[in-house]
Amino acid sequence: MGYNLAMRVWRGDADGGGLQDFTVPVEDGEVVLDAIHRLQATQAGDLAVRWNCKAGKCGSCSAEVNGRPKLMCMTRLSDFDPAETLTVTPLRTFPVIRDLVTDVSYNYEKARELPAFAPGPPDADGKRRMMQEDVERGQEFRKCIECFLCQNTCHVIRDHDENKPAFAGPRFFLRYAELDMHPLDTHDRRDLAQDAAGLGMCNITKCCTEVCPEGIKITDNAIIPMKERVIDRKYDPLVWLGSKIRRRTDHRSEV
């Protein structure tokens, strides 16, 4: 049944701001984003918020709800006590533009630094063959909706802007791992991941995995295997050489 929800929403811009109190009527089955939209339509027409699909598929409406990184469209009000005041603040790791909207351009810069997928030639009939079990590892990582909650929660950069130039963050470790495990990619990305992307700065506290709304096992399935492969490469050149040779003849045996 409907009730009046007490909310505190951060409002302001790069020059500063603070929490503002609102009371907004909400209905059964609604999510935090519904409450924010109702605030916009009835009490604060210029309340800035990013959103698109409202279905957990685009990763636009990331914010912190009671201090926890969440997609507002997937956070149901029924998960909270109706008597509780809900606090909604912008992602802390990125500079505020206005209200709940932050400048996430850091992520787009990191994306540009990453060498693109580089496949070999297709089969004689113009098609490419890969086995389902070989694409599934990459498919898990490609579920990523780029909500940047993992980036936001990662303590390497959360309160450490100084680490940002040298650190790509979990979202892009995921991408390195995806390309590294891609059956058709011909690059070796381990040095890049380690040196340019700062994989070594991650000390696998798994915070990123915990906040991923897609349930991707970022640490276990992407970061740790990447770290292991970097170590192979660094300490055993023969392993590296062997893997390169094998890759050309039978890419399926690559791990």
Binding site: E27, G29, A44, K57, C58, R76, F117, M130, K143
Partner: protein, 600 residues
């Protein structure tokens, strides 16, 4: 003359969904200096929500499949109102466009032979949709996004174009604003590609995101281009109905493609009662045959749940109206009793997640409640099929914003392939056109720039009482209740009267706050576009006195042969009024006509 930020390109693409990104890649590769301008962050466009797959007759599972069968299915699905040339190009080129995505890093689901897997969908003779579980759109947009970034194409994110600029009869650029700062900017470019998607936000119950305000449709009209097929709006048969918060949210057709069936409150599998004459010969009329089809397509006909979307949506609507609906006003979609939990979770992971998280329903154990939701507009900018250019020199359109490809009804899966095929053609066409006018490049008219800036700022100057959110809600109510899935003359007349009233309210829209990331202001500007496309839909719907595809007139049931030869063409008059004329459908050559009636 005010000083604004300026950028000069050969080709400016508006919109960064599948069509826009594919167009930008093509234009860039053709050597044009290219920019993409989009309202959201890169990678968030509506394509991301597409679930089922991209239709392409690759023949990976059914060697019998080829472009001719795909062409036939597309034309029949569109009830023969499609632009035949677009349908032909689409069917012929879709396989190459899908394979190309793989070269750029896409990871589609595989067949046992290691090829791209293909799934069944409504209206398609063979399993034809290349897919990744039920998140194909995400895979497609991410692939195109990563390709765009790799090529170093300039992307203007969170930037809205409010006006196209012209030099005489030719396009010369575009005017817009940065959403974060509200600052204006001018693009100088001889070629502009519209790839802005659809119009669904004019309806209350829709699967579309806030971006779908018909920007490209309206920009094209204001620049002198024409729209066709606007009366045809696709209501997807299966949207969520409960909780209210997610009403309209898409439930992919793959649920039915993978074995799901529709039932009414009496538990009856009702689609067998709604097989139209047009599709009788290719639709199963017994449960046994329908269920046998999934594994044996040679000896069984397609289940009626997989009729084209217009047919299924009307059937659901009729069941609900007859009082056989669910408690929340839908019907049941059941896959739990038909497939194993493992199969459902593997094939439909997002649907499993979506119902679990948002409705507390486990689709491996329970039925879903679903109902029709506004999903897609078949109508759009009238374009040359081969190059994608509109009747205005230098203005191109690709994807949902263009018209003709899908006729009166689009088949599921034909949208993602449409984006790729015509996105590329438009990018090529725009680059070629830009080269052809390079010697005498059209210039931006400064008076138009100043006028555009003034128009954009009007809502701040106005201290009137009109709240943009309220006007939007009223517009959605009008379109939902009077220009919805079933239409009647009286209601359409009434809708046009109400829309005319809203037109008078627009100048009095007023917004609070400043220009910095101000959604109220953004909506006030988008409303202008939503209103004009709504007027187009209602006018064309009133004019077309027959029922066909995504246009059902209760007072004119059945399709008429006369109307089957006519496109309704919409343009804007000098004072901004919607004008409508009849135009004969392009004549299909004989060798293609022969393909239509072949029983395959």
């Amino acid at each position: 003359m005010a000083e604004f930020e300026r950028h000069s390109y050969d080709v400016v693409v508006i919109g960064a969904g599948g069509a826009g990104l594919r167009a930008a890649i093509a234009a860039h590769e053709a050597g044009a200096r290219t920019a993409v301008v989009c309202k959201s962050l890169l990678g968030k466009a509506h394509t991301v929500m597409a679930e089922g797959g991209a239709a392409a007759a690759m023949g990976n599972l059914w060697p019998e499949d080829n472009w001719k069968v795909h062409f036939r299915d597309t034309m029949r699905g569109g009830k023969m109102l499609n632009n035949w040339r677009m349908a032909q190009l689409h069917a012929q080129e879709a396989p190459d466009r899908v394979l190309e995505l793989e070269t750029w890093g896409a990871l589609f689901d595989r067949t046992p032979d290691g090829l791209i897997s293909q799934r069944d969908f409504g209206g398609h003779r063979y399993a034809r949709l290349a897919h990744v579980g039920d998140r194909t759109g995400l895979e497609m947009i991410r692939t195109l996004q990563q390709r765009t970034v790799a090529l170093g194409i300039d992307v203007y994110m969170e930037c809205t174009v409010t006006e196209l600029l012209k030099d005489g009869d030719k396009i010369s650029g575009a005017f817009g604003y940065w959403r974060d700062s509200g600052r204006f900017l001018v693009f100088e470019a001889p070629a502009v590609v519209l790839a802005t998607g659809g119009i669904g936000k004019s309806y209350q119950v829709t699967s579309n995101s806030w971006e779908y305000t018909g920007d490209g449709h309206a920009l094209a009209m204001r620049a002198g281009a024409s729209l066709i097929n606007m009366e045809f709006v696709q209501f997807h048969p299966t949207g969520m109905v409960w909780p209210l918060s997610v009403r309209g949210l898409l439930v992919t057709e793959s649920v039915r493609g993978d074995g799901g069936i529709l039932k009414n409150s009496e538990g009856k599998r009702f689609m067998f009662d709604y097989i139209p004459e047009f599709f009788k010969a290719e639709t199963a009329d017994t449960v046994e045959e329908a269920d046998g089809w999934y594994d044996d397509k040679k000896n069984n006909r397609r289940p009626p749940e997989l009729l084209p979307r217009d047919e299924v949506a009307r059937a659901i609507n009729s069941e609900i109206k007859a009082g056989r609906g669910t408690p929340h006003g839908g019907v049941y979609l059941d896959i739990a009793s038909r497939r194993s939990p493992e199969y459902i979770k593997r094939r439909l992971p997002s649907m499993y997640h979506q119902f679990k998280e948002l409705a507390g329903v486990d689709i491996t154990k329970e039925q879903m409640e679903i109902g029709p939701t506004c999903h897609y507009v078949m109508g759009g900018v009238e374009v040359d099929p081969d190059s994608g250019m509109s009747i205005v020199d230098g203005l191109f359109a690709a994807g949902e914003v263009s018209g003709g490809m899908h006729g009166s009804n689009r088949l599921g899966g034909n949208s993602l392939s449409d984006l790729l095929v015509f996105g590329r053609r438009c990018g090529d066409g725009a680059a070629e056109y830009a080269t052809s006018v390079a010697a005498s490049r059209p210039t931006v008219d400064e008076a138009s720039v100043d006028a555009a800036a003034e128009a954009a700022l009007a809502p701040f100057a106005e201290s009137g009482e009109e709240n943009p959110y309220t006007v939007q809600r009223d517009l959605q109510e009008t379109m939902q209740s009077l220009v919805g899935i079933i239409r009647r003359e009286g209601e359409l007349v009434q809708s046009l009267e109400q829309l005319a009233e809203m037109r008078k309210r627009l100048p009095h829209l007023s917004v609070e706050g400043n220009r910095q990331y101000n959604p109220g202001w953004h909506l006030a500007l988008d409303l202008r576009n939503m209103l004009v496309v709504s007027e187009c839909i209602a006018s064309a719907a009133l004019e077309r006195t027959e029922s066909r595809g995504g246009h059902t007139r209760e007072d004119h049931p059945g399709a008429s042969d006369e109307w089957g030869k006519i496109n309704l063409v919409l343009t804007l008059g000098d004072s901004g009024e919607v004008q409508l004329k009849h135009q004969p459908l392009p004549q299909m050559p004989g060798e293609l006509t022969e393909l239509i009636d072949i029983q395959v």
